[in-house]
Symmetry: C2
Subunit: 412 residues, 2 copies
Amino acid sequence: MKNVLCARCIRCGKTYEPTPGLTTCACGGILDIEYDYDFIKQSATKAFFASCQERTMWRYRAFLPIEPQTPLPPLRVGATPLYDVPRLAKAAGIARLWLKDDGLNPTASLKDRASALAVVKAREAGAHTVACSSTGNAASSLAGNAAAAGLPAVIFVPSRAPQGKVAQLLIFGATVISVEGSYEDTFRLSAQAIEEYGWYNRNAAVNPYLMEGKKTVAFEIAEALGWEMPDYVAVSVGDGCTIAGVYKGFYDLHAAGLIERIPRLLSVQAAGCWPIHRALRENAPLRPMEENTLADSIAVGVPRNPDKAMNAIRASHGVTVEVTDEEILAAMRLMGRTCGVFGEPAGVAGTAGVLKAAAQGLIESGASVVSIVTGNGLKDTANGIRAAGEPIRMPPDMRRLRQALQERGVAQ
Amino acid sequence: MKNVLCARCIRCGKTYEPTPGLTTCACGGILDIEYDYDFIKQSATKAFFASCQERTMWRYRAFLPIEPQTPLPPLRVGATPLYDVPRLAKAAGIARLWLKDDGLNPTASLKDRASALAVVKAREAGAHTVACSSTGNAASSLAGNAAAAGLPAVIFVPSRAPQGKVAQLLIFGATVISVEGSYEDTFRLSAQAIEEYGWYNRNAAVNPYLMEGKKTVAFEIAEALGWEMPDYVAVSVGDGCTIAGVYKGFYDLHAAGLIERIPRLLSVQAAGCWPIHRALRENAPLRPMEENTLADSIAVGVPRNPDKAMNAIRASHGVTVEVTDEEILAAMRLMGRTCGVFGEPAGVAGTAGVLKAAAQGLIESGASVVSIVTGNGLKDTANGIRAAGEPIRMPPDMRRLRQALQERGVAQ
């Protein structure tokens, strides 16, 4: 990898050779991949991107820590749409708003970007199997991307995991180990097995490469906007890996001279679970917090990647805001109604944060904002139903229909 | 529309001016849009497509019945991936197989192509509202595409419609009328209201333009294959509008000189509901049939577009095959496991048909086939769960894990 210099621990600064099987530093800190931007600049030019025919995240491989000869996995990850949404901008009271709909990835979440990179690195490591411990988007994206690449996947889930989520893993042919115990028991069994069998470890806060896949969402936003940066990029935050990846993407582009400034991050956590924001405000070490939110993908009381997330928010001069479950469901309805985009609760939380931050004056009314929709609403239809409201019930009677439509101001 | 000659009734041959509000012929027959291929040929060349930057279905507007100045709707419809799937081809026992994953459209089904066109024509017709009567993919795609375009939608559903499907419509802000009565009652009330209020009618078997949107899936397949046709294109069949649209797309390309032959259609119906295939085999008029299949999107006992579907199958020298629910669920698992693609039951029925047709020698082992995945599996998680199988349950015990993995031949 001529574009990569090293992996450096963000806690103690120790550096490592960027071997495919890297995990955490000996000190326990998370590693960060460092690049040779002078080398990258030679190929990653605006002219290159203007003529590049690759319509997936691999369009940005100049910035990715993969060997040139490694085969790319088959699913079409990335190249998700960026929608200019003037009616939603108006509702938010800001000048300009775009939605980046990452729910249109192959397994319907942004996590496909990390899992696709995991599959590439697993191949480079010569691994015969990839593994992780999760029931969420990380697991389903790993199962789908591994299946497409013909790589076996082993997924550990706690036995209380909802049947629907487990079904997606099984459809993708993963070996699913349902552990009769807590999440902690499940994680520990997976760690022991990964060690013993030499499986490739797909855990975003352990494996430093995964964040490098996630950063491609920032590249796509920048390129779609003609390399002109918005004032803010809003993203919902659980573990912290996604917002750290978004920052890294803009950092890379800035270092390579493709953009002139890094947008400010608007970090959005749930009002029922905001340990990263609390640590930032108190300027104190992170303490665990209860997980009181319906947005399961960001209900993370003990984030596994707080350091990188906090660095990203600070370095971008970011803004933090928390949203209630009601605000999340309201944003889900508003996005559906004004943009035709249906996101899962964590997927719309970023936009809920934009609405709240604008209403509270945390971001200015002249601001331009990109909000990232991290997952598809079809992943969580139960909360879709909670948000949806009720249809108009009536017998098949034209008179009753006329009356109902008139009352609601429809079809005047 | 300089590219359109007229609309012609496929039953009596009567022609009509292609006004935006066209429905059926006075005789009750369905209309078909006829094009001036000499005109189209001037712009729709291979060189044009090689340099065209539009990455949506509107890339093919030379072949679409829309005015040049009508604004295009916002959602990114089309440009779905075509996956080469050698392991699934091997499992099927054929030479080459591709999956066209139309479940990655914005509302997760191929129907987005028809609904996006409906939104364009509604605007041309000066309509203030679009309407249809359905609980399925037609309704959700109309609601989503209309919402994105800022066009109100009214959807009529029978009160027995599942809450999850109604939720998607409500999230997209459609006015949903839940009719206490049969589907027939619901349809009749909607027809009366559409007539009375002058709403734009989105019913694929009434409005001749919708099929023209669906045909863009054939254009994308042809272009992705470098205009070299596969031997067969497999598609599941309910109402008949989709297979008719697929045929029309290849017919257009052939007439415009972009492809040398039209692939044979592999028409797949459910073994519990196959009225179109029965009519073809008996060479007799279509008779209603019971709807005994879990694949709800093709459980259509009284298809509304059998004439165009049967014409398409005959004209392409097509092959017909029926698949059982068990074969549908098996295809769902096999596609997930070998390709990382999760389709809804009707979405995988085409592939189930490929597997069955190959096993029965209806298609030859040297055949190349494209199978269209018409809808995303996340739309019907209940059947995903039925197909999925069971995880491996155990306490958090490494010894038990070793034993379970060894029994299953995992991680050797």
